[in-house]
C-alpha cells in the first residue's frame, strides 16, 4: 500500500496535523466550503495550480518544514496531505 495514499486510520498525530491544515486552507477558500478527509484539494476546491503552491508555502510556514513540489504529486486529498506532512514534520525534527 502506498505510504501516503493508502487507506489506514489516521493516527492521533495525523489528525492534529489535519486540523491545522484545514485551518490554513480556511483562509484561502470561500467561507462555508466543506472540507473533509476525502476532499480533493485541486478538483473539489477550485484552486488553480498557483493557489495550490501558495497553500503549500503556507503549510511550510505553519509546520516549519520544506514540502518539495515534486513530492506532492501523489497528494490528492486532505487525508493524503495530512499523512505527507506528518512524515515531513517527523523527518525535520
Amino acid at each position: 500500500m502506498h505510504p501516503i495514499t493508502g487507506w489506514g486510520k489516521l493516527t492521533q498525530r495525523q489528525e492534529a496535523i489535519r486540523a491545522q491544515i484545514i485551518e490554513v486552507l480556511g483562509a484561502m477558500i470561500p467561507a462555508g466550503v466543506p472540507v473533509s478527509d476525502k476532499t480533493r484539494i485541486a478538483r473539489d476546491l477550485g484552486l488553480d495550480s498557483v493557489a495550490i503552491m501558495d497553500f503549500v508555502m503556507e503549510l511550510e510556514e505553519r509546520f516549519d518544514i520544506l514540502i518539495p513540489l515534486d513530492q506532492i504529486a501523489d497528494v490528492e486529498t486532505i487525508r493524503d496531505l495530512s499523512k505527507a506532512v506528518e512524515v515531513l514534520v517527523r523527518d525535520a525534527a
Partner: protein, 416 residues
C-alpha cells in the same frame, strides 16, 4: 468521453474571452511596419506589448547581416548542436556572448525557454535542491519538472524567506541552487539581487539569474540587473534570450565556472533539438555588437519606461512597484481587463492582457512594454488612450491623481 474533456475549464475561459469580439490569444498581426507600428484587422496600432526593448527588429545592420548569411549558408542547419548543427557562427556568437558578459564560457540554445530548461534541469541532480522564486517564469517551473532535484519555492523577491527555507535543509547533502530573474515579466519589478547574492554566499549556494527582460535594458553596459546591482561576481550562471532586446529568437547561458562545457552533453534541450539557423545567429551577433558599441539604447528604453510609468501613475492607475520598461496596469477584475484590452485595441493601442494563473497573486493585468524607439509623443498618446478607456470603464476617476492631490492640498485634507 473526448480526449479533450480535461480542457473543459480552459475551453469555458476561452469562450468568455471571445465574447468581446476579439480573443486576445488569437491576435493576428497582418503587418508589422516597424518596432512601434503594426496592423491588426486592418487597423493601424501602436505596439506597446512586444518586449522588443531596444527596437532592433528592423535594424538595418542586423537585417543585412541576416540576409547575407541566409544567402551564404542556407535556411537552416537541419541538425542539433552535437550533430551537424554547429557552424562557425554559433561558436563565434558564444565567444562574443562570453566576452560581452566578461565570463569564461557561453552556450547558445535554440530558444530562451530551452536555455532555462536545459541549464536548470542538467545542473540540478537527484540529491540537489532548487530554490525558485514563487513568481518564476513558466520555463523555470518546467525546468524543475524536468530535473530530478527537490523543488522549493520562496516568497517572491524575499531574500529573508529564501534564507529561512535554505536553513530548513540543515545539513542535508546536495547542492543548493537559487533561481531568480532580473526584471519580472508580469509586474516589471526587479529582484533584490544584492540581498539574494548575500544569501547565496552565506549558504554556499549556486545562483542562476534569468536576465530575459533585463539584458540590454539594465546596467551601464547592458549586462542586466547583475551589472546594475554590482553582483556579477556572485552570479554563477546568467540565462537570457535573443527574442527580446536582441530582436530575434534563441537563448543562452554564460558562466565563469570551470567545467561548464560538460553541459553540452548533459542538457537534453540543447542536445536534442535543431540549432538556430545561421541567418538568425548573424542577426543576433549584429544586435549584440550594436549594444556593445552603443549604450544609448538602454538609456533610451529606461527613460521611455519611466515616462509611461509616471504618466499612468499620475492618471491614477495602480501599477507594478517600480518603473521599468515593463509597465503593468492592475485591473479590478478579469472581465474589466478583457474589455479594457479590447477597447484599447479599438483605440489603436496594442498591449498584452495577462490573466491568472500566469500572473502573481491572481491579478488581472494590462501589461505594456516600451522600446527605445518609442517617441515621447507615442508614449503620451498611449497614456491618453489608456486614461480615456480607464475613465470610461470607471477604473480611474475623471480627475487625475495629481489634480486630486492638489485639490486635497488646497482644502487642507490628508492625502488619499
Amino acid at each position: 468521453m473526448s480526449i479533450f474533456a480535461k480542457f473543459e475549464d480552459i475551453q469555458k475561459t476561452l469562450a468568455g474571452l471571445s465574447q468581446t469580439g476579439q480573443n486576445p490569444l488569437d491576435v493576428r498581426f497582418d503587418e508589422i511596419r516597424s518596432p512601434v507600428e503594426g496592423f491588426v484587422g486592418g487597423r493601424r496600432v501602436l505596439l506597446f506589448g512586444t518586449s522588443n526593448y531596444l527596437g532592433l527588429t528592423f535594424d538595418a545592420d542586423c537585417i543585412e547581416a541576416g540576409v547575407q548569411m541566409l544567402r551564404r549558408s542556407g535556411t537552416g542547419t537541419t541538425g542539433s548542436r552535437i550533430a551537424n548543427g554547429t557552424y562557425a557562427g554559433h561558436a563565434s556568437l558564444e565567444q562574443q556572448l562570453a566576452q560581452f558578459y566578461g565570463k569564461r564560457s557561453a552556450m547558445v540554445f535554440s530558444t530562451g525557454y530551452q536555455a532555462n530548461l536545459g541549464l536548470i534541469s542538467a545542473l540540478a541532480g537527484r540529491d540537489d535542491h532548487l530554490f525558485i522564486d514563487a513568481d518564476s517564469h513558466a520555463s523555470i517551473y518546467d525546468a524543475c519538472r524536468l530535473s530530478s532535484a527537490e523543488i522549493i519555492r520562496f516568497r517572491h523577491n524575499d531574500a529573508d524567506d529564501l534564507a529561512r527555507r535554505i536553513g530548513r535543509l540543515k545539513d542535508r547533502p546536495g547542492c543548493r541552487i537559487i533561481v531568480t530573474e532580473g526584471i519580472y515579466s508580469m509586474l516589471g519589478d526587479t529582484a533584490p539581487l544584492r540581498e539574494i547574492a548575500a544569501v547565496k554566499r552565506e549558504t554556499g549556494s549556486y545562483l542562476i539569474v534569468d536576465e530575459a527582460h533585463s539584458m540590454g535594458v539594465l546596467g551601464a553596459r547592458g549586462r542586466g540587473l547583475c551589472e546594475a546591482a554590482d553582483v556579477e561576481a556572485d552570479v554563477d550562471f546568467v540565462v537570457g534570450t535573443f527574442s527580446k532586446s536582441l530582436g530575434a529568437v534563441g537563448g543562452f547561458a554564460v558562466s565563469d565556472l570551470e567545467g561548464f562545457d560538460i553541459l553540452r552533453v548533459a542538457a537534453r534541450p540543447y542536445m536534442f533539438t535543431a540549432s538556430l539557423p545561421p541567418s538568425i545567429v548573424a542577426t543576433v551577433s549584429a544586435a549584440l555588437t550594436r549594444i556593445q558599441r552603443d549604450g544609448s539604447l538602454g538609456a533610451r528604453v529606461r527613460a521611455n519606461g519611466q515616462r509611461l510609468y509616471d504618466g499612468l501613475k499620475n492618471a491614477g492607475f495602480a501599477l507594478g512597484p517600480q518603473p521599468n520598461p515593463v509597465v503593468a496596469v492592475k485591473m479590478p477584475d478579469r472581465d474589466t481587463a478583457v474589455t479594457f484590452w479590447k477597447q484599447l485595441l479599438d483605440e489603436g493601442i496594442y498591449l498584452n492582457l495577462a490573466l491568472p494563473p500566469a500572473t502573481p497573486a491572481s491579478m488581472a493585468l494590462l501589461r505594456s512594454s516600451v522600446n527605445a524607439l518609442h517617441t515621447d509623443e507615442q508614449i503620451d498618446c498611449a497614456i491618453a488612450a489608456i486614461s480615456r478607456v480607464g475613465m470610461r470603464l470607471g477604473v480611474i476617476n475623471a480627475a487625475p491623481a495629481k489634480q486630486r492631490a492638489e485639490r486635497a492640498e488646497k482644502l487642507a485634507l490628508p492625502a488619499e
